[in-house]
């Protein structure tokens, strides 16, 4: 550290810095993690870190290398990166001893050695400690490189320089710009620099040694995949790839990104089929090592393969858990998966997980038949019933109760929508009934309720009754807003805004001002202006349960769909790769929808009112009839 600070020329400092970085990289390659940590922490020390001009002198690839190393030693997720790496690296290696010592001391502090004072030894704890010992002892292999006595002696004799001195020199080299915000500033600059360097190369790594180490194996072709670095989340992710490669990444022993699996499962139907996906998983399960591997590499392969296989089983588990509809109507797929699981059960180590998945399938079939009734934790408001349940008219139902029952019906319809229906704009295609049956039902109900409201108003011959009906529906609108049921709000607004109603000037003029203001506010809330900013902001600030107005998300899906290509060319242009970036964006929209499907409403269904609503909404005036009546009430002007 002193070496770097002690040179008064920026250039010399920079070159020393870059040498240190290469040295760390070298240690990393030699699996000497102890030195990696020691040297990195020296560089990250304030006195070095703050030397802005020195850092700026580095080349882009050096900066990138450095960032990668810092990332590796980062304590995020309890040193996850390092822990993963050391588990799979080949011997000889030197672990970062401090971390293991830290683990042991944590174990000691957290659990008493004796349980319950009855002097029962907590064996689980000892076992865990023992594991760490074994882990440490496993690094017994010697480094084979020849010793260089000279250098070793020199290293041992480095004089220790007191911190104060270093700090003073550091200050004198590049004085502080502002007294207080210095650290913050340098950090900012540093991040910006890194970002610039990353973006200037279009997120593509050119440096072979650093080419997404977590992601790719040596044998993976760059033609099959494009990965990009997300500087905000500080991690790599897939931009595009062949279907095979995307599946391979899912199952990689080092794959650790649960979001990727989720996104994949939500969207893979847009570029593949369930059958193809399953086959690729099975292929991967039985993958054979390449013949060119030596013994050591073969051993490594088998070690990794077991992890991969476990991963595959857990992926299937996840798939069944959250996307069981892929299997319900596909007997051949069901057969294939159960054959595969039977084979996996035969292999001793996978017996338990595979059996678990099998029982999972059985459970899924059961729960498909009986609807799960969620235990009620909240108090259910008592329904407000009309005076007579046998014969009542729309306005006899209390507006709050109508809002509740509409909310219940629409929540059921909303929940029935499955993620796959949202893919590839299925609800707009000619075969929408097959592709997106539940979306079609949902939108149909939406239109019917709107038209029903319009019909109810036009049924009234007297102006006073029309005003009363409009007032009633505006109150329903308001209640639905209070229930966070934005869908019903939008559908009633739409009903009151259809031309035959909208044009009834005299009727609208008689609506009480207070009521009209409420209506106006709701209209501006649901307005298309600024891409539904009002609605988007509102729903983000509400606690579930909510029913969103789905049209907003459908528009997002359409624009994401037509604004992004399905495939991207590979680096050398020989292949068309699935644009997974697009899938990721689409899956975010679908996840938003799913998130609202999870929280049900706690209202008591009233069978009679529900039936009444359902029969009313299927019995509405058609457009011509609406216009005729509307003209009757208030004649056309010219």
């Amino acid at each position: 550290m002193f070496q770097i600070v002690n040179h008064d020329k920026i250039k010399t400092r920079t070159s020393l810095l870059s040498k240190t970085i290469s040295l760390i990289q070298e240690c990393y390659n030699l699996n000497n993690f102890f030195s990696v940590f020691a040297l990195s922490s020296a560089l990250q020390n304030d006195q070095i870190y703050r030397l802005r001009q020195t850092w700026e002198g580095l080349t882009i690839s050096e900066r990138r290398k450095c960032n990668k190393l810092f990332h590796f030693v980062s304590s995020a997720n309890n040193y996850r990166k390092y822990r993963l790496r050391i588990k799979e690296c080949a011997l000889p290696s030197i672990p970062f001893l401090d971390l293991s010592l830290y683990d042991i001391s944590l174990l000691y502090m957290k659990y008493p050695t004796l349980i319950d004072r009855k002097s029962i030894v907590d064996f689980a704890k000892l076992h865990q400690i023992n594991q760490i010992m074994i882990f440490l002892r496993s690094f017994n292999k010697q480094y084979s490189s020849p010793k260089n006595e000279n250098i070793q002696n020199q290293l041992k004799n480095i004089p220790l320089i007191p911190f104060e001195t270093i700090s003073q020199i550091s200050q004198s080299m590049e004085p502080r710009s502002t007294e207080t915000k210095d650290r913050f500033l340098t950090d900012q600059c540093w991040t910006n620099l890194l970002r610039k360097s990353v973006s200037s190369t279009h997120f593509m790594m050119e440096d072979e040694t650093n080419y997404g180490q977590d992601f790719l194996d040596k044998e993976d072709s760059e033609e099959d995949i494009i990965i990009i670095f997300d500087p905000e989340k500080n991690k790599w992710h897939v931009r595009a790839g062949t279907v095979q490669m995307l599946v391979k990444l899912l199952t990689k022993e080092s794959a650790t990104d649960p979001a990727y699996l989720k996104q994949f499962l939500l969207t893979y139907r847009s570029f593949s089929t369930p059958t193809e996906f399953l086959n690729l998983l099975i292929q991967r399960f039985y993958e054979q090592p390449s013949r060119y591997l030596d013994n050591h590499e073969q051993e490594n392969f088998h070690k990794k393969q077991n992890i991969t296989r476990l991963k595959i089983i857990s992926i299937i588990n996840q798939w069944i858990k959250s996307h069981f509809y892929d299997f319900t109507n596909d007997p051949s797929l069901q057969k294939e998966i159960s054959n595969f699981l039977d084979e996996a059960i035969e292999l001793e180590i996978f017996k338990k997980p595979a059996q678990h998945v099998k029982s999972m399938i059985a459970k899924q079939f059961e729960s498909r038949e009986k609807k799960v009734i969620i235990s009620v934790s909240k108090e259910i408001p008592k329904p407000i019933l009309p005076k007579s349940l046998t014969s009542f008219k729309t306005l006899d139902i209390h507006h709050e109760e109508l809002a509740r029952q509409l909310t219940l019906i629409e929540f059921d319809l909303f929940c029935a929508i499955e993620p796959k229906e949202c893919l590839s704009e299925g609800w707009l295609k000619k075969d929408k009934e097959i592709r997106s049956p539940n979306i079609v039902k949902f939108t149909k109900f939406f239109n019917q309720v709107g038209l029903w409201a319009a019909t109810e108003i036009l049924k009234c011959e007297k102006l006073r009754d029309r005003v009363q009906t409009i007032t009633y529906f505006i109150k329903v609108e308001k209640k639905c807003r209070e229930f966070h049921n934005f869908n019903t709000v939008q559908e009633i607004i739409a009903g009151l805004e259809v031309s035959p109603i909208y044009r009834l000037k005299k009727t609208w003029e008689s609506v009480p001002e207070k009521i009209f203001r409420i209506h106006e506010q709701l209209i501006s809330l649901m307005s298309l202006e600024d891409n539904y900013k009002g609605f988007r902001d509102a729903i983000q600030n509400e606690n579930p349960p909510c029913i969103p107005y789905l049209g907003v998300y459908f528009t997002d899906l359409v624009f994401l769909g037509s604004g992004n290509k399905d495939t991207l060319p590979s680096k050398n242009g020989t292949k068309e790769l699935v644009n997974f970036e697009k899938c990721r964006k689409i899956s975010k929209v679908i996840e938003t929808i799913q998130q609202y499907q999870q929280f049900p409403y706690f209202f008591q269904p009233v069978k009679e009112i529900r039936q009444f609503i359902e029969s009313s909404v299927s019995n509405v005036f058609d457009e011509t009839e609406m216009f005729e009546r509307s003209f009757q009430f208030e004649a056309k002007k010219n």
């Binding site: 707009l428 739409a494 106006e520 992004n564």
Partner: protein, 204 residues
């Protein structure tokens, strides 16, 4: 939006059968406004585009209900206060052309009488799959006395021109109605105020 505060602001809507390529046309027209790599919340202002015409900046607020065609009932409120409507059909899809009549009907019922229209045939890049000849499109437009153009949202051909033609048609029409000069300033805040003026004003 600030730099056009004293210039014209027009509200345009794009309609047509789903999958006719409405969203593609809009995306193409706003090309320089955002990248194909659009973020999660699709840019709030990409529906606002300014167009330079004879040294004058004209703000276009383009409303598009792409993806929401199934929510049929909501569309009527979008027609209100529209200055211009672009009706899009797909030259490779007979059905989408058949619906053109329906859209013109819809406009006459829902939109203000002053609205200007343009008929747009999309997907000229698929010339070999063409089902609707340019002539048929032109005839349909002529019978409604509105301008007509064929575009390709994919290649970008004529897309900008289509919007310019619509703006021209509007300028032309507004000259004829000198009595009702439409200044944009007054129309800056769209729905709420105009709605209020129309209905609320008289009520109290």
């Amino acid at each position: 939006m600030s730099n056009v505060s004293d210039s014209l602001l027009l509200k345009l809507i794009i309609i047509g059968r789903s999958m006719a390529g409405k969203s593609c046309i809009l995306l193409r027209f706003c090309d320089n406004k955002f990248e194909s790599n659009l973020g999660f919340t699709i840019g709030v202002d990409f529906r606002f585009v300014s167009l330079n015409k004879n040294d004058e900046t004209i703000g276009l607020q383009i409303w598009d209900t792409a993806g929401q065609e199934r929510f049929r009932t909501i569309t009527s409120s979008y027609y209100r206060d529209a200055d211009g409507v672009m009706i899009v059909y797909d030259i490779t899809d007979e059905n989408s052309f058949d619906q053109v009549d329906h859209w013109f009907d819809e406009i006459s019922k829902q939109a203000p009488p002053s609205v200007v229209k343009i008929l747009v045939g999309n997907k000229t890049d698929l010339e070999n799959k063409r089902k609707i000849s340019t002539e048929r499109g032109l005839n349909a437009a002529n019978s409604r006395s509105c301008p007509f153009i064929e575009v390709s949202a994919k290649s970008g051909e004529n897309v900008k021109k289509a919007f310019e033609m619509l703006v021209d048609a509007w300028t032309e029409k507004s000259k004829q109605h000198i009595t009702k000069p439409r200044k944009k300033k007054a129309r800056q805040k769209i729905t709420n105020e105009s709605f209020e003026k129309k209905d609320k004003g008289n009520c109290c």
